[in-house]
């Protein structure tokens, strides 16, 4: 590892570590919620519960991507944060327009209001952080 060059650009230290911590918290929250919903009452709202599971998966992969740093990690994190942003805005709009579409809450319903709107802010912070730590041209 080339310390001085790499450490300043790494996505997994400093503020990045805080970001990973929050992603981990959401990975835990979304995974347990989705797991419980799918295990106990999947028939009630399959779309909403599968969406919860997808969100959970994305949080996990995003956390891993940020933690792995490197080029592959950055690309993975970039993809996850983008999907997340589209997901939270899309589901937020849809859940306002047509409440019947999501009869039960998901992490992304109402723009993540059930989680203090953190799901809406998180991908933006993630994308900002990836941009801040972008590798300079060699």
């Amino acid at each position: 590892m080339v310390e001085t060059q790499v450490s300043r650009r790494a996505t997994n230290s400093g503020p990045g570590r805080l970001l990973i911590a929050v992603y981990l918290l959401f990975a835990i929250a979304a995974t347990s919620r989705a797991g419980l919903q799918i295990a106990t009452r999947f028939d009630e709202a399959p779309v909403a519960y599968l969406l919860s599971a997808l969100a959970a998966l994305i949080y996990i992969v995003a956390a891993v991507g940020l933690a792995r740093a490197g080029h592959a990690g950055r690309r993975v994190a970039l993809a996850c944060c983008s999907v997340e942003l589209v997901g939270v805005v899309g589901v937020g709009v849809l859940s306002l327009v047509d409440a019947d579409l999501f009869p039960d809450e998901t992490v992304w319903s109402q723009f993540g209001s059930g989680y203090g709107y953190v799901p809406l802010v998180l991908p933006v912070l993630g994308l900002f952080w990836l941009w801040r730590t972008r590798p300079t041209a060699p």
Binding site: G14, R17, L18, A21, L25, S32, G35, L36, T40
Partner: protein, 131 residues
């Protein structure tokens, strides 16, 4: 609304309140440290240890009540929150040890803000039937 059920709840009492207060105090302390550009200090790590002991005591109280035949309103969610809860301070500890900068303090602050929410959710999932 849930006062009748809450009276008999093992996770709603002086101990639960103490963990909530301690966690919030710790969050403020860590926030001050982060703003002052200080890495996590001994007080923060000691606070996490005490918080963890309190949460473990809470878990034991819940298990004792279960042994005595009491049942939470939503068992699945209750145990999910209980397991998550006792894992939070260790998670904060490990991440903060990895990050000996102001951001380590910020991590402790963030997790100590989440912990009280989980305690409250724990109380809600126990009491839901009595509501």
């Amino acid at each position: 609304m849930t006062s009748a059920a809450a009276a008999g709840s093992p996770v709603d009492g002086i101990l639960a309140t103490a963990t909530i207060v301690l966690s919030l105090v710790l969050a403020v302390w860590a926030l001050v440290a982060a703003v002052r550009d200080r890495p996590p200090d001994r007080v923060q790590f000691a606070g996490l240890a005490v918080l963890e002991l309190g949460l473990l005591a809470l878990a034991v109280a819940a298990l004792v009540a279960l042994g005595g035949g009491e049942r939470p309103g939503e068992p699945g969610a209750f145990f999910g929150y209980l397991v998550t809860l006792v894992c939070l301070p260790p998670l904060a500890w490990v991440l903060a040890r990895m990050e000996p900068t102001r951001w380590g303090s910020a991590i402790i602050c963030a997790i100590c803000l989440v912990t009280p929410i989980v305690v409250v959710r724990l109380q809600q999932t126990w009491a839901v039937l009595g509501g």
